[in-house]
């Protein structure tokens, strides 16, 4: 019985993929990209997109980690609730609004887009860093202090490694949101794959829309995959042991 459902599932997946393929071809996506000019242009957009993402996510990671670390220190713990809410506003507020407001204050172009994307990506990282570090059991920290590790060493050798899994998940979520939101950057003159998408919509051209949508989605999926690999590299083996094989 299980074998049958499994086969049915695989078959349905195949049908969907084939249908998608046909649709994509019919829409002229392949033809569009086989034009060398368009191909080069698209690659340019992809590079712009990636550029924005990398800069903004790096800044967000730095800020998010710092916030997460600071507000798990005993001195500042009581403010963590308030700070988390403020950081959370960056995500409650709609992405389009953040981008628009950013543009009003910074002007159009790369800088404004990166600023907006950074604000938008800080929350998942900060929240997960905070949660991850908080979840390290208190007696482990006690043992570390008791045998003579300094606060700094405890942070880097015990707290952060043990929180790595959760922190990385936050980073992954932030990265994927970031890639999707970056498609709005076009609206304030920062380029990126949103160019194809928005232009395609206003011109009612399916091939252009797909030329923007598909690379963006693939980029997100690829980023997700890379995060998985990154996990493999930086999560200490001892903490990966109860996971099923990736």
């Amino acid at each position: 019985m299980h074998l049958l459902t499994f086969k049915a599932y695989r078959f349905t997946l195949l049908v969907i993929l084939v249908a998608a393929g046909v649709f994509i071809e019919r829409a002229g996506f392949i033809k569009y990209l086989s034009d060398p000019f368009e191909m080069r242009f698209t690659i340019n957009l992809i590079l712009q997109h990636i550029n924005m993402v990398i800069v903004s996510i790096s800044a967000a990671a730095f800020i998010g980690l710092t916030i997460g670390i600071i507000f798990t220190r005993p001195k500042f713990k009581k403010y963590s609730g308030v700070v988390m809410y403020i950081v959370g506003l960056g995500q409650t507020v709609p992405s389009l609004a953040v981008i628009a407001i950013s543009m009003s204050f910074i002007g159009i172009g790369f800088k404004a887009a990166v600023f907006a994307l950074c604000i938008y990506s800080v929350l998942p990282i900060a929240r997960n860093t905070l949660a991850g570090i908080s979840s390290v059991q208190s007696w482990i920290i006690d043992a570390a202090r008791g045998i003579g590790m300094s606060e700094c060493r405890i942070l880097f050798q015990i707290e952060i490694p043990n929180a790595m899994k959760v922190i990385l998940t936050g980073f992954r979520i932030a990265l994927i949101i970031n890639i999707g939101t970056a498609s709005l950057a076009f609206l304030i003159g920062a380029g990126g794959l949103g160019d194809h998408i928005f232009t395609g919509i206003s011109l009612m051209r399916m091939d252009k829309i797909l030329a923007g949508a598909i690379p963006t989605t693939l980029l997100a999926l690829f980023a997700d995959y890379l995060c998985g690999l990154l996990g493999f590299l930086i999560i200490p083996k001892g903490l990966r042991l109860d996971e099923k094989a990736v």
Partner: protein, 374 residues
């Protein structure tokens, strides 16, 4: 050694203030294992954590080898002492090797020396170094983790160990094993140890001395023997339990109570007639039959009379042979089910060294009480 001088620790302020530790003064001698005993909230754990400055003192001072603990840098102070806790607290992100190597690395030992030390410690605690070194804490059983916790405590070879219910989290069977192993290790290493527990049995078994606390104050500081025979007040005699004489039996050995052999032995190849004569001449109830120095059984008047053969043919077997190192409590346990009033005692090589009876045990206990009464 560790000296506590009028140590106070107060939590809270003003009218809410609570003295977790009040005017504690006593001294832990070098090489002693001192148990801090008492119910939850009595201050024993607080005192332990004051010793390595995990908590700051309110008043008084603590001297480690005649140096005030506040003159040290806190982190360095803790690196110089071992620290073990009930939850063990092995770092999940490090291997067993990595866990044990933490303090040696902080003290900048070279890797080769650390490697040797880790192997040495694991071996000493009866863990196979190669099987366990590269594993992670989640892969180990509770008993194994506990041993690694002790190993980590001893890693940098500190003179002083602070242990807070280190065996509390394992099941009673494993706990007894690891207590015995720890005592064996302590025999060899002779560390100065402060050992917190709320279990009176553990305290009696492990401690050279016991410090009993109540509501932050030190009530009595003596050897287990004295605490059992002369508890300072009703609180302590209640805490110790009304079966304290039985508990005392647990720490006394057979060698403390037994009667050495004298005329009451006979070779197994001797003739029963002459053996019978010997029995009667010396007014003995029984004689132990020996073969090559080891007890084979016993003979009494009933067995020997009217026979004429080798003693070995009429020997009656003992239900059990007792070893010199066994505790009197275990022997008592046997006596309750034995029909024989006397049991033979052998030494570590199995050679007869004496006998023990219920009377002997009683006499021994009475002598101890007499000795400890002022």
């Amino acid at each position: 050694m560790i000296q506590y001088n009028h140590v106070y620790k107060t939590f809270g302020q003003g009218s809410d203030a609570v003295n977790a530790v009040e005017d504690i003064s006593f001294k832990i001698e070098k090489g002693d294992l001192v148990v801090f005993l008492g119910p939850s909230g009595c201050g024993k754990t607080t005192l332990l954590r004051l010793t390595n400055r995990l908590i700051p003192l309110t008043r008084g001072n603590i001297l480690i080898n005649n140096q005030d603990t506040t003159t040290w840098n806190g982190v360095k102070l803790r690196q110089s002492m071992g620290y073990a806790i009930q939850e063990i607290g092995l770092f999940p992100n490090k291997t067993i090797y990595g866990n044990i190597a933490v303090v040696p690395r902080l003290l900048k030992w070279d890797e080769k020396r650390i490697k040797e030390r880790v192997d040495e410690l694991l071996f000493m605690l009866r863990l196979d170094p190669d099987a366990v070194k590269e594993r992670y804490p989640t892969e180990l059983s509770g008993g194994q983790k506990q041993r690694v916790g002790v190993a980590r405590c001893l890693a940098a070879d500190p003179d002083i160990l602070l242990m807070d219910e280190p065996f509390g989290a394992i099941d009673p069977i494993n706990r007894e094993d690891i207590q015995n192993e720890f005592l064996a290790v302590q025999e060899k290493l002779k560390k100065t140890i402060a050992f917190v527990t709320h279990d009176i049995q553990e305290a009696i078994k492990m401690g050279d001395k016991i410090a009993i606390f109540q509501a932050g104050k030190l009530i009595q500081y003596d050897t287990p023997e004295i605490i059992l025979t002369r508890p300072a007040n009703t609180y302590i005699s209640d805490f110790v339990g009304s079966d304290r004489t039985l508990k005392l039996l647990a720490i006394l050995k057979v060698s403390d109570a037994m009667m050495a052999v004298h005329e009451n032995v006979v070779s197994n190849n001797e003739n029963t007639q002459s053996a019978h004569n010997k029995l009667r001449n010396n007014n003995l109830e029984f004689m132990i039959v020996i073969y090559e120095g080891r007890p084979e059984g016993y003979v009494n008047d009933e067995a020997l009379k009217d026979t004429d053969t080798e003693v070995t043919n009429v020997t009656r077997p003992f239900t059990r042979v007792i070893h010199e190192d066994e505790s009197l409590r275990d022997v008592m346990s046997h006596m309750l089910v034995s029909k024989v009033r006397h049991l033979p005692v052998v030494d570590s090589e199995g050679l007869i060294s004496g006998t023990i009876s219920y009377r002997d045990i009683q006499r021994c206990i009475r002598d101890i009480y007499k000795k400890n009464k002022l």
